[in-house]
């Protein structure tokens, strides 16, 4: 049975008395009872931590928190306005956009390269795939600990091996112009191997005989990539882009461990801003307003991509 198919409801005909319809509806509901009982445990937790949370964000965003001087007060969209007017928030949004594009494009590009190069089945390819996949499994906090030493001024791995070739040794995490790009490197390192998996799976759909025929017809690697492989991988691209965007908004552990949003807010990302407002400034109203804006943006984006995916046949 298809899931999207709604349960057939009894249709009231003009001949049937109203009471009879109600009775039949009652029977349908009684017949549905076992299903409701099975769904109840899940629905309780979803109600508490998803829909309820969504509702509380909405309400909290409309109120001002009690202060020693004033009680809780309804202030309408003032929190939203305050967040929108906060240069730290707009800064975080801009940082997050740069961060999203700057991590998604290279990691997806690298993932495609890795998948194309390692699609063959042999011991070497297999070992390389493992090497590239390992960062996916380690916590962002652990990755941050390792990269903190890599970026350490003077004695760190980067300066020790490469920095010395530069005229001036940059302070990778301490320079507001560089820090955001430095933390982007960690994300690319961590995610490229994950996206590679989806491209490897997608490549299996490329028909070998078509590739063989194109090869015999003299189509070079670029032509085959452009006209055979990439069109086949379109759904994978879309899917991976959605995941990469979500990751860019939801992964902030490295900001927390390495830079705390600094120097001078240069690495502040939206989720870290929300955390700061709620936990450091105790401003739940502002934090909720920021959450609301972010959720709206993300849901719009996800809905859009779902629609695009639904319009294409056979997404991953």
């Amino acid at each position: 049975m298809s899931l999207a198919e709604p349960a057939a409801l009894p249709v009231a005909t003009s001949a049937a008395p109203r009471l009879d319809v109600l009775k039949r509806l009652g029977t349908r509901f009684r017949a549905s009872l076992p299903a409701y009982l099975l769904l109840l445990p899940s629905l309780v937790f979803l109600a508490l931590f998803t829909y309820g949370a969504m509702g509380r964000v909405l309400v909290d965003a409309l109120y001002q928190r009690a202060t020693p001087k004033a009680p809780v007060r309804f202030i309408g969209l003032d929190n939203v306005a305050a967040v929108l007017a906060d240069p730290a928030f707009s800064g975080a949004v801009v940082n997050n956009l740069v961060y999203a594009v700057g991590t998604a494009v290279p990691s997806i590009g690298l993932a495609l390269l890795f998948a194309l190069a390692l699609s063959r089945t042999n011991a070497v390819s297999s070992a390389l795939r493992t090497a590239l996949f390992l960062p996916v499994l380690i916590p962002m906090v652990a990755a941050s600990a390792l990269f903190m030493f890599i970026f350490l001024p003077n004695v760190g791995l980067l300066d020790y091996y490469i920095g010395r070739l530069l005229p001036v040794l940059p302070n990778w995490l301490g320079d507001p112009d560089i820090a955001l790009y430095a933390i982007m490197v960690i994300t690319i390192w961590k995610n490229a191997g994950y996206y590679m998996l989806f491209f490897l799976a997608g490549l299996q759909a490329v028909p070998e005989d078509v590739m063989e025929a194109a090869h015999l017809d003299g189509a070079g690697p670029y032509m085959r990539l452009r006209h055979i492989i990439l069109p086949e991988l379109k759904p994978t691209f879309l899917f991976v882009t959605v995941i990469a965007t979500l990751n860019a908004v939801t992964q902030v552990d490295h900001v927390f461990v390495m830079t705390q949003g600094g120097p001078s807010n240069s690495t502040n990302l939206v989720l870290f801003y929300i955390y700061q407002q709620a936990v450091e400034h105790y401003d739940v109203g502002k934090a909720s307003a920021a959450t609301l804006l972010t959720l709206a943006a993300l849901m719009g984006l996800t809905a859009l991509s779902f629609r695009t995916m639904a319009n294409r046949e056979g997404g991953p």
Binding site: M1, P34, Y51, F114, R120, L137, P139, A142, S144, I229
Partner: protein, 289 residues
């Protein structure tokens, strides 16, 4: 290393005698080496004696006099056995409750007809779109209201229901022939008996795929437990590591930090290396962490 291979069957993209694909492969080899450098450094630095000095810390050549001092120091500074225990409790607790909730809900969606099915399905779908990580602020206040602040249960609770797991189980259950259930029905098996003795045993691969995804993501969770947990003895590995790193960073003890990081990531990495194929296929089929 043949484990990957069974999953990705040979896909020769017709590259005989061409230079571009070979260059791409070479570049990938170089990048794979670069990708391993942080791991290599971690192991080398863990074994490096403090007497080598801070200036030799970045050296990727292993020390000729390897020592376990860093491991001992890390073990003493951070309470890693306690952190590991807490993380294990969190992951196991979440997974056990999830198994119950997703089995029941998955079965309802796969096999039962009921009023409002489409609507309820969309309610589940919404969880995937709402990105639970972003709801930390309202969920923290709820956890506090429930009196679960600073408890491991508080860390686990928001994940007890899983829309992704429900969809995965629905798919698995739909693939099971109804004849099996009909036979049990004739024998007078109750609903729960049918789920327990027919659907669950036949869906073990889906359960294990879900287990891998669930445990991996909660093993690595940081921000949420950081907000819920206050007592040092309730910290999971990730929070413990971040506090430990801050302490050791002040003393420039990078060998100790490397050792601590190694201790945190070793369990999952070793499990992965043993069950590579399973991990990879779960990650591919899920697509959602």
């Amino acid at each position: 290393m043949k484990l990957f291979d069974r999953l990705f069957r040979d896909a020769p993209l017709a590259t005989r005698g061409e230079i571009t694909p070979k260059l791409g492969f070479l570049l990938t080899v170089l990048l794979a080496i670069v990708w391993l450098i942080p791991f290599l450094w971690m192991v080398v630095a863990t074994l490096r004696p403090a007497s080598d000095g801070i200036n030799a810390m970045a050296e990727l050549m292993p020390s000729l006099k390897p020592t376990l001092d860093n491991v001992r120091d890390a073990w003493e500074i951070g309470d890693f056995p306690r952190y590991t225990l807490n993380t294990t409790i969190i992951c196991a607790g979440i997974l056990l409750v999830q198994f119950a909730t997703i089995t029941l809900a998955g079965f309802a969606f796969a096999r039962l007809a009921f009023v409002g099915k489409t609507l309820i399905f969309y309610l589940f779908l919404m969880q995937l779109m709402l990105v639970p990580v972003l709801l930390i602020v309202p969920n923290l206040s709820l956890v506090a209201q429930l009196g679960l602040y600073d408890t491991l249960t508080g860390v686990m609770m928001p994940f007890f229901a899983s829309a992704f797991g429900t969809f995965l189980m629905r798919q698995a259950f739909e693939a099971i022939p109804t004849e099996l259930e009909d036979a049990a029905l004739i024998d007078g098996a109750s609903l729960f008996q049918r789920i327990r003795h027919i659907y669950v045993p036949l869906s073990v691969p889906s359960f294990s795929a879900f287990a891998i995804i669930s445990v991996t993501s909660h093993w690595n969770d940081f921000l949420w437990p950081l907000m819920v947990i206050n007592s040092p003895d309730k910290r999971p590995l990730t929070v413990g590591l971040s506090v430990f790193t801050k302490t050791a960073e002040g003393t420039q003890a990078w060998g100790t930090i490397a050792a601590g990081t190694l201790m945190v990531i070793a369990p999952l990495l070793i499990t992965f290396l043993i069950f590579q194929k399973r991990f990879i296929s779960s990650f591919v089929t899920s697509g959602i962490k």
